[in-house]
Symmetry: C2
Subunit: 329 residues, 2 copies
Amino acid sequence: MRTIFFHNEPKILGSFGVGGKDESKSPYCKHFDTLFNDDYWGEDTFELCERKMYINAVQGAIGSAGLNKSDIDILFGGDLLNQIISASYSAREMETGFLGLYGACSAMAESLLISGVFIDGGYAKNCIAATSSHFATAQRQFRTPLGLGSTDTPTAQITATAAGACVVGLSGAGIAKVSSATVGRVVDFGITDATNMGAAMVPAALETVITHLENTNTKPENYDLIVTGDLGIFGRDLFLDNAKKLGYVFENYTDCGAEIYKGNKNAPCGASGCGCSALMLCSYYLDLLKKRELKKILFCATGALMSPLSTFQGESIPGVAHAVCLEAI
Amino acid sequence: MRTIFFHNEPKILGSFGVGGKDESKSPYCKHFDTLFNDDYWGEDTFELCERKMYINAVQGAIGSAGLNKSDIDILFGGDLLNQIISASYSAREMETGFLGLYGACSAMAESLLISGVFIDGGYAKNCIAATSSHFATAQRQFRTPLGLGSTDTPTAQITATAAGACVVGLSGAGIAKVSSATVGRVVDFGITDATNMGAAMVPAALETVITHLENTNTKPENYDLIVTGDLGIFGRDLFLDNAKKLGYVFENYTDCGAEIYKGNKNAPCGASGCGCSALMLCSYYLDLLKKRELKKILFCATGALMSPLSTFQGESIPGVAHAVCLEAI
């Protein structure tokens, strides 16, 4: 059984989201906690900028929970960069324990799910779940040098320059409670196009969402919103089409990657990157849950386990997606 | 508090270790479950060989526990390769949930610790903790092309070509029980020499081992063995020297990286790599615990969070180490 039920009401006690240049033009930007307007945020490299975003999100979340660094037992986190350097160098600044994760863009849900288990079971007092991505660091690592000025294919998504963090604990008022979660499975339908991450992730997203519905004996209409991570516009439509073929109609469904850059003509297929769903969750959806404008959502962050090396060696791109059910308090 | 006490006796139900060419010459080789004698094990690339080792260890552990694939809820694992491709492509072959981890060479202890929490708290029925490394894949990714024939510095360790996996659960006879664990902190003493991983990891190893002793109110002599992951020969000596300065004398102490290649003149500083401590734990130390030749050990796998990109950008190499206390049943 891959679905976990939390009986002790682990809560999100604080959350914080950071966004960059494109995020500042998002229709959701007024919800974002911190925004900056270039690619460096005063740092020397894109990687140092991403690290600053990560640390900023973590510190912001701790502050938003009304806690101090010393109140945190464990930081759960990862990012897209090799050796998860944004997360691990950020953890160096903390005095907490660090358990590094890698689930590509599923990191926000993965870290939230594991935090939920540690808190629900009493294995830690307060945890942080955090992740980040940066357009230029991801481009450097996964794709072609920016200086080449390569044009995008129609299905290519833009990696969000964003970070998000949540503090999970039992005590305090809390923004929302974590009520259940489903661990994803690695699913591969043979996509080899590294500029079509949406298609690579849709099978895993569908598998996880449907497994969660089945295991919790719920229907799509029992959620105010089912929100996937970063399938993008093409992926979102593919998700809905394939869901219909499997007999599921999702009325209250959206995708963070399809939403965050709405109206931005430079991002016709939307956004990707761990930070995309992290920022949308930590700054926007949690805000709506806090105000009780949403009562119950299923947050399903999706990751394409793409590796440039595997791609060069002829491998297809598997996907993974983890789902966390969040409810207003 | 970073130390976790397991009250429901999560047990290691099965374990399996795989080793390559150099491991076949190890003084411990008769304990290793499967050995092969070249760099490919019949595969086309080093990376596919590592994946085969990973899958083999996972399947072997399931078999050794007398279980089937369908009995496993979640695979916790990672490896050294970018996007943890050995673990994630192996997970594709399984029908279980997958939570990918990255803790460099601390992966065996990290995955065991998180598995312990999921099992102890009743969040999963059976989990697998697994990791791997391969000399040639690590060399390709982290160091210089093998064809260059670069000579090693005296402190350079050889990445073990090895994999190990444990099944953790509550039911069944079990090999050993997981009684407590300490989550590591990211510690950085400013080492910038990428050929001296031992020195980069010693501060984290010491911090974790001492924190575990303090939090569990135990002394080094309360353990039949305290075993670190892959500090290597230089790192092992550095660990003991620095421990003494901090007032700790470890009589029953060893390091998997210092042990596995004992007598091998081509590895004067010993071994490194996730697979090193994984193989030694899964095939050797668990064997001794099963036979009750050891009653209680503290297994502390150590990771150097080295990133070629960060190193090129002038960063030092932080370390992290997680400790798991295992006791004979």
